[in-house]
Symmetry: C2
Amino acid sequence: MRFELTKEFFETLQDAISVQDLVWISTNVCELHEADIAAIIDELEDDEAAYLYRLLDEDMQSEVLVELEEDVRERLLQTFSSKEIADQLENMDSDDAADLIAELPASQVEEIIGLISDTEAAEEIVDLLNYAEDTAGGMMQKEFIKARLEWPVNRAVIELRKQAEDVEKVYTIYVVDDKEKLVGFLSLKQLLFAGSDSTIADLYQNKNMISVKTGDDNEDVAKTMEKYDLVSVPVIDLQGKLVGRITIDDVVDVIKDEADKDFQMASGISEKVESSSSVFLMSRARMPWLMIGLLGGILGAQVISGFEFGISKVPALAFFIPLITAMGGNVGVQSSAIVVQSLARGNAHLGSVMKKLRKEALVALINGLILSITIYSITLIFGTPILGLVVSISLFTVIMFAAMFGTLIPLILDRYNIDPALATGPFITTLNDVLGLFIYLTIGMLLFNI
Amino acid sequence: MRFELTKEFFETLQDAISVQDLVWISTNVCELHEADIAAIIDELEDDEAAYLYRLLDEDMQSEVLVELEEDVRERLLQTFSSKEIADQLENMDSDDAADLIAELPASQVEEIIGLISDTEAAEEIVDLLNYAEDTAGGMMQKEFIKARLEWPVNRAVIELRKQAEDVEKVYTIYVVDDKEKLVGFLSLKQLLFAGSDSTIADLYQNKNMISVKTGDDNEDVAKTMEKYDLVSVPVIDLQGKLVGRITIDDVVDVIKDEADKDFQMASGISEKVESSSSVFLMSRARMPWLMIGLLGGILGAQVISGFEFGISKVPALAFFIPLITAMGGNVGVQSSAIVVQSLARGNAHLGSVMKKLRKEALVALINGLILSITIYSITLIFGTPILGLVVSISLFTVIMFAAMFGTLIPLILDRYNIDPALATGPFITTLNDVLGLFIYLTIGMLLFNI
């Protein structure tokens, strides 16, 4: 059953917590899926959250902890002793434990690791903390199942049964040689349906063995798993030894985060924020782009002031300033969005830049012509024929330029290893504003003979 | 080994194809992963693609066909006879086969289905074609493994071995009762490590059994699988009968597609296009937003023309028109992006609208004050104190209004079941342009006493 958190349920729960109605809570909440309980706790007030959390059994507690939103988890953990945190960590997958420790204040980390009673688990966590967060090493977990080449199937089943106790989800069995080097893989299905007299060496596959290296960037890991439709991928070190695995659920998070970041960047927000982030963080994340916009506005004012004499003679020229700047911005953003996406997908390497530019120029030509003719007809009704001519010629020119800049700038940024998503925000809009104003007013001066 | 398609490799391959160097092609290409071969074929010219494709063995052909880009696949299939297409379909998973058939011209579909020699496969495909593409039914595949409650483990292993031949990836065994109703699940790991005297009823789990219904929207399926960290999810019909399963790789595609669509919508592109789409499609996808922008520009012109007398008296007022419109647009887009994302994540239901508005107002207040003071100081250097006052007061007012509209409009659209991502494009920008102009020029008239 899927659970839907309704307003009624939530209010009933808050009442139950306030009167400490343990029966209602344990029948209606404690039996839910950990993801649902986490979603409920995310919405509760801090003291309610802490109360509900302590009613869960120990295994559920650590599972819920992993699923909570970062800021909620941080506040909840502040009500815990170091020993309690250490106990929770022991119940978690190594990657989740390492991620959680990385969120704690540095002063507490050493103490907590010292309090973990399972030394093997502690070692795994310490090992994982060595890797940078956004690499394959930082994403991987130490829980995986491996079989040695020379094992017969019977022995493999016994050994794997031991290993499998610690591994929640088993998708693939990795096959290693006597130096722990990854040599191939085997699906659980193959093992299940194998004759008992065969060995792993008879069963395993090494063709198309896809693995990632500990230092690989997490976006590359996501692209690899997506491209090859993998549910888990083994991680090897520089010597080719198997050191961990990454599962698809972590990769889905990377893909979502990446998409969110691109979307926010295109919307002019320079740090990753959520609707629950603090007002200060939200303000700061927006400021860089607003400052660029302000700078663009001031440059625009400079350009227009250069044409002050013209505007005082033909004030109607001022009417269409917003139209020109808006259209330049829109066209620029549209063009860059397509390029940014094809760069993000990694399929823009072979197609030549010239081919892209030609195509964008063609699209701009079609749209520019349609829009210019439309605006010419409309201005004819309201204004003078010359004004109509000025607006429509400028609009066409601005659209062509904006499309070219919108295409080129992300490509250039990418060439210099700057995230091209930067280009689809106010940056392109601002550039096109200033350029558009200059084109418009220059054409205006020429045609009005000022 | 992961394969990287380099320019050198690609050119060597093109040479090899032109001289029909079968040895080079079969050693260097035919052994690659299907995803890599598909990526190569995507880049080749049509005749090269058809040549290379026919060199692959039959199993590989159908796997590559699934991975190709839609337009490449369409052109490739035009070189096939209906019988050849039918043969390829038989080798595919039922969901891929149904998706492929849905792409074919309607006139050909019936003939091809008639030519599929495996009648069970044909029936499955026909069944899947009944479901709408963007529902769970349209995403699911008929290949899954199910066990009956009453089976003993030994019998289950034998039955499952039969079933597993058709199922490429086995993650979970679904457990059904004697009416084919889904009652629970079992991991392959549990079956592998179970004692041989137990039955499925002893082993299976029914707590937290997550399933989706055939009619569920594909985005809901993606959200469910993501929330519960599922690798596959069973699909049931209205009677609760198990009819299919959806695997995570298809969901990753939905997540990516959704993110791409949102990104494009925020960039003012109204239909899903790719850098390989036709010039006509690209132009058409951009036109609606550009027309809205044009309309906004014309409305803006109307607003400014209402203040023509004022501008002819103080032409300097025109200087800051682009600054006001740009800033209004930027702030509006930033505010709406946050709301759109939290709506997309589905965690905006409990937080009240008033709370969001208060927070956005606070952020706008902080940024508005900083930016207004900045612009006041700068205009003092270049212009008159009154102009500085007009610009800074208007900028502050516009930022406050833009933040409110940017927050409210996506919430209102969502309330009326319109995709709120619509709000973060030129729509909000345009609205804020017109409003900002009116505020700016009105304040200008008041302070300049015109």
